[in-house]
Amino acid sequence: MSQYSVDEYGFYGEFGGAFIPEMLYPNVEELRENYREILASEEFQQEFRALLRDYVGRPTPLYYADRLSDAYNCRIYLKREDLCHTGAHKVNNTIGQILLAKKLGKKRIIAETGAGQHGVATATVCALMGLPCVVYMGEVDIARQAPNVARMKLLGAEVRPARSGSRTLKDATNEAIRDWINNPVDTHYIIGSVVGPHPYPDMVTRLQAVISEEIQAQLQEKEGRPDPDVLIACVGGGSNAAGTYYHYLDREHVQIIAAEAAGKGVDTGESAATSALGRVGIIHASKTLLMQTDDGQITEPYSISAGLDYPGVGPLHAHLFATGRARFIPVTDEEAMEAGRELARLEGIIPAIETSHALAVLAKGAVPEGSLTVINVSGRGDKDLQTYIDYFKLA
């Protein structure tokens, strides 16, 4: 077994596991016992692949970015997850999980969301399958992500404000977990990232692994080899990164880079750079790297990107960091915003600000000249227009 796979207890090295209250044990155990078999079944695979093709629009293109490549003296391909239905990679996971939920006979779906992308992707598949959907979202995020709140409502989902704690993503996740404790029998919780108790990190990684599977085939076709020299993705919880890395984890000659949100700077106190600032701890039932006080209270991260301001990181990524398999590079708000604008001007693609963090790695000189590089464009920038407007004073 790969040293980057989850072990029988749900750990990647020392990270992961399922630190769940006993009330959640039956729910999580039901998933744990069934997810591999269901995901591997021919019936599931057929439905999943058909929906990814006909509904999501897969395979997403692997696009050679000519002008961007010239600017950085290397050969850069962009994996266009921004062209997925709903605007980001998130839908790969929600399609997979809703099929799984149906196989398990669940009648009701809950989810958490930060910026609203996962909430929209969940509301979308619930509309598609005719299942009721409740999305928990921090009160603060509801106020600053109004268009996505409207999208979820239009899709028929109920958006419930999380009013506890800091009223952002971590609290929305707490509320979703509490909902699951209160509705243990008929409800499936679609977690949006490679976080939470085992088996979620592994399950979501497998559902997102379609990204690296396609990259391999597409690079083979375009370059005559499946492996790039360098692979780059942004990491908040880490679902697009896990999907981008998955088929390359054991191919050690492929350099893996994870772009983390440094906010206003790693040492400013306003940052979400978990690998730099976190210590081993438990968040949302998973042992991972975590931003916290000396007393073990979870702290509130900051990033201009609402999709990256998570105080933890998926346990797979904590393991990739601890083993040195992935190189973690902190990217500030400013560096990301500049990189986003650069992609818009050089390639005519406006990326999500999360993705802009991955792109900023280029300007930081982290990619050797001449390298064959793949960057995952995890989402499109429509949702971030207001932030771009405010930042660059475009109005």
Binding site: M23, I282, G296
Partner: protein, 268 residues
């Protein structure tokens, strides 16, 4: 009952906990969040609870993200943290408590603050101040047994596990076997303080557990707020745990309201 006593003596459980569980009648166990309503209220609350006739106290170590708790305990935890409560400060406050308090003291908290304090150091400190047992809802049985139980056992601390209406019979038996004092029986599929009182579903669950004739006594928690729900919860069980309702009382009346509240629970 004889088998319970045998089990207790074999595991060298703290005398206080063993004695309390052998008392005749139903046990009242009260939960409060350390550092709430005021930072310095910990010892006065415990003292008043003992004077009011509580059989056991659960001291809540506040956490920023208490997953298994409803709004009442969450808010008290947030307030306690804002007041400056920390693990170290709680241990300082509890130093010397055993010169005035005889009833069992149980610490209830989430695992992350304990992990940061250092599990071994935490356990040593618990023994030093006179803590008898722990309830750590997000440290499941399997991980406890595999990675941590030697630290707790080395200090003679009892680990108390939860069961809920969804827990399978096989798992309840396994938890019973791993227990050494009592089992915390969560009354319904719920976070704390969400529901009030019990319906037929709960009574069926209480009867089902009673019929299993477990080695260890059960204390029922979640949803107990007054004499009526206390009676219903303890028809089969050895006692009941009151948390959110007690926090609400502290919010409204402070330490002065404790005596009337505890006495009221036992009124018929």
């Amino acid at each position: 009952m004889a088998s319970v006593k045998k089990q207790l003596s074999e595991n060298k459980l703290s005398d206080r906990l063993a004695i309390a569980l052998r008392k005749p009648g139903k046990l009242v166990s009260i939960y409060f969040t350390a550092g709430y309503p005021g930072l310095g209220d910990t010892v006065p609350i415990i003292r008043e609870l003992q004077a009011a006739g509580a059989d056991m106290v659960e001291i809540g170590l506040p956490f920023s993200d208490p997953l298994a708790d409803g709004p009442t305990i969450q808010e008290s935890s947030t307030a306690a943290l804002k007041n400056g409560m920390t693990t170290s400060r709680l241990f300082e406050q509890l130093r010397g408590i055993r010169s005035q308090i005889d009833i069992p003291l149980i610490l209830m908290g989430y695992f992350n603050p304990i992990l940061q304090y250092g599990v071994e150091a935490f356990c040593r400190k618990c023994r030093e101040v006179g803590i008898d047992g722990l309830i750590l809802p997000d440290l499941p049985l399997e991980i406890y047994e595999r990675d941590y139980q030697h630290h707790f056992k080395a200090q003679g601390l009892s680990m108390i596990f939860l069961i809920s209406p969804q827990t399978s019979e096989t798992r309840i038996r396994r938890i019973d076997a791993a227990s050494d004092s009592f089992i915390y029986m969560v009354s319904s599929a719920s976070t704390t303080g969400v529901q009030e009182g019990f319906g037929q579903g709960q009574q069926a669950y209480f009867d089902r557990i009673a019929a299993m004739d477990l080695e260890h006594p059960q204390l029922v928690g979640f949803g107990i707020s007054d004499a009526q729900s206390f009676r219903a919860a303890t028809r089969n069980a050895k006692g009941a745990i009151i948390g959110s309702a007690f926090i609400r009382l502290l919010t409204e009346k402070g330490v002065a309201g404790i005596r009337g509240f505890v006495e009221g629970l036992r009124s018929s």
